[in-house]
Assembly symmetry: C2
Homo-oligomer: 329 residues x 2
């Protein structure tokens, strides 16, 4: 009998669910908005709805679905499946794993959304085969995940890998987390957009001057990339500085973790492309010790928006397989 697993990627704006066969082909899929302003119970029912619709969209007997995996913003407890708290969702000490398990009568694993994405890249993407991987996703914020000795590493805190919140410039700009000078406060899309807007307000010339006027609205990665390609000197300067800060942060992490591979993904990386990656790489190698950086590869994530559902599904299947093996022994 064929077996299927469902991977769910839960975000602040959308819910994405995909059903995978044993070769990790997508045989069913559904997406919908999260509507995160709703209460926890309503958002939970939306997750149930998206999962059900993804299953319904596949020509598969639901009895053949062995496990569910879901990647969610954290902090969360992967052992119990509880979401402890999240900035952009209504969940607070919410038993997301147990509730989904009750609803669908299946094994459900819950992981940090970035961890799920990094695990997807590790098992079926850019980091296949590596045993020690640092995954960094640079978008609105900066998230990370660690593969250590061939497995996802959560640490004693169960929430390791928060690489966006290493301080690389003490006394630097205020970060969303409350501290000053975190990598996220210097090199995320929010940081780049903030620096562009601030410079324009101070009178700097830029093709983004019109966009930048629009109150709190965030510049998109595409807007930034277009201005960059158009030769906008202000934007180029600020983007290059962000790449240098990313290099400083990654170089520091290389000195601590000694990884085999760094996988870079997320909206900023997707938009800015190879030159941006090359700048990060160069800046990283200035900070990292030579003996740690020589054989280190920096690669671009391959799975794009699918990394989360693929990773969650893979984690679900592997967890079910381990449980099956345990039962047989």
């Amino acid at each position: 009998m064929n077996s299927y697993v469902l991977g769910i990627d839960l975000g602040g704006t959308k819910i994405d669910a995909a059903l995978f066969d044993e070769s990790y082909n997508i045989v069913g899929r559904h997406r919908d908005k999260t509507e995160a302003w709703r209460c926890d119970e309503e958002v939970f029912q939306r997750i149930v709805g998206v999962a059900s619709a993804a299953i319904k969209s596949a020509a598969v007997d639901p009895a053949q679905i062995t496990a569910f995996g879901i990647g969610s913003p954290g902090p969360l407890d992967p052992d119990t499946g509880y979401i402890i708290n999240t900035a952009n969702l209504p969940f607070k000490n919410f038993p997301l794993g147990p509730r989904l398990s009750e609803e669908f009568q299946r094994r459900v694993v819950v992981h940090n959304d970035v961890d799920a994405g990094v695990y997807g890249e590790f098992r079926r993407g850019a980091a296949s085969g590596a045993q020690n991987v640092l995954g960094v996703f640079i978008g609105t914020g900066i998230g990370g995940g660690l593969i250590i000795n061939g497995g996802l590493y959560n640490g004693f805190s169960k929430n390791a890998g928060e690489v966006g919140h290493i301080v690389i410039k003490a006394g630097g700009p205020r970060c969303g987390c409350g501290n000053r000078g975190c990598m996220e406060s210097l090199a995320s899309r929010i940081a780049i957009a903030r620096d562009i807007k601030k410079a324009i307000k101070r009178g700097a010339r830029s093709k983004l001057a019109r966009h930048a006027g629009k109150g709190k609205e965030l510049l998109s990665s595409k807007d930034i990339k277009k201005a960059y390609d158009d030769g906008d000197q202000l934007v180029r300067k600020i983007v290059h500085r962000a790449a240098r800060y990313l290099g400083i942060g990654l170089g520091s992490l290389v000195n601590v973790l000694g990884p085999e591979m760094i996988v870079l993904g997320g909206g900023v990386i997707e938009a800015m492309g190879e030159d941006f990656m090359a700048r990060i790489d160069r800046a990283m190698r200035k900070i990292a010790f030579e003996f740690s950086a020589t054989n280190l590869r920096v690669v671009k994530a391959q799975l794009g928006d699918d990394a989360g559902v693929i990773g969650a599904a893979t984690l679900a299947r592997e967890s079910a397989q381990r449980a099956g093996a345990d039962e047989r022994t």
Copy 2:
């Protein structure tokens, strides 16, 4: 038959060798100066001499010594036993492990000196029982070691754990490694002494004014502690700042590694004591996420100068036991 293991701690100034019985009692010991200005072959012979003297000092049949462990400054390759390079020793691509193994006809394991110390604290000291440990030794420089999932973690680079060289203040003071703003450049004894001397040169009043005049000579941790206890305002200000920087660096590492325990050791920690530790702890908890820091313990290293030999000996015995188990299967 009783079995013994020899632990060697190789430093830039001294070589320390201790022979341990199965309960890790020291049954023989010898120390001597490294005389690191000599060539590699001469320093190697000094290591051989110290090891032989430690063995001779014990009433033990040399046939009962099963393995040697040595902690050395790195970078080095624990798999081959080669020292790649070191700042304060003449070794360059030197086969320290193979040469010692040939000399004594025993299994020899070679590890980074700080790793050996952290492993000692993990197996027989302050971090006993914890599975994920961040060890940080703050002395002339700042070194670190990682215990991950119950084992020493070296990473793909084989030289992970260089926590002194995370950049926490981009554009900050020049570090010995060449970069700017590393934790070591802000909070090691060299950094504290540099800041005190610089302030005195600029006219700040301090009880250390006389010492600080003496050219390049480094202020000792004890000098600094004495001035601190005497209420020297300049010294207090600079020491408190160093504690804050250590907290920023450790908080960043907690966000990435999510450890169960941080073990702090080294000359600065030994000299400055509990109040300094408490200041580091508080500053760390400002940077670390609450969910990562709540159950995290920050403890002082217990083994003092013995951590290195105990750790090296433990690593040697465990390696010999694994090899024995492999042979039996």
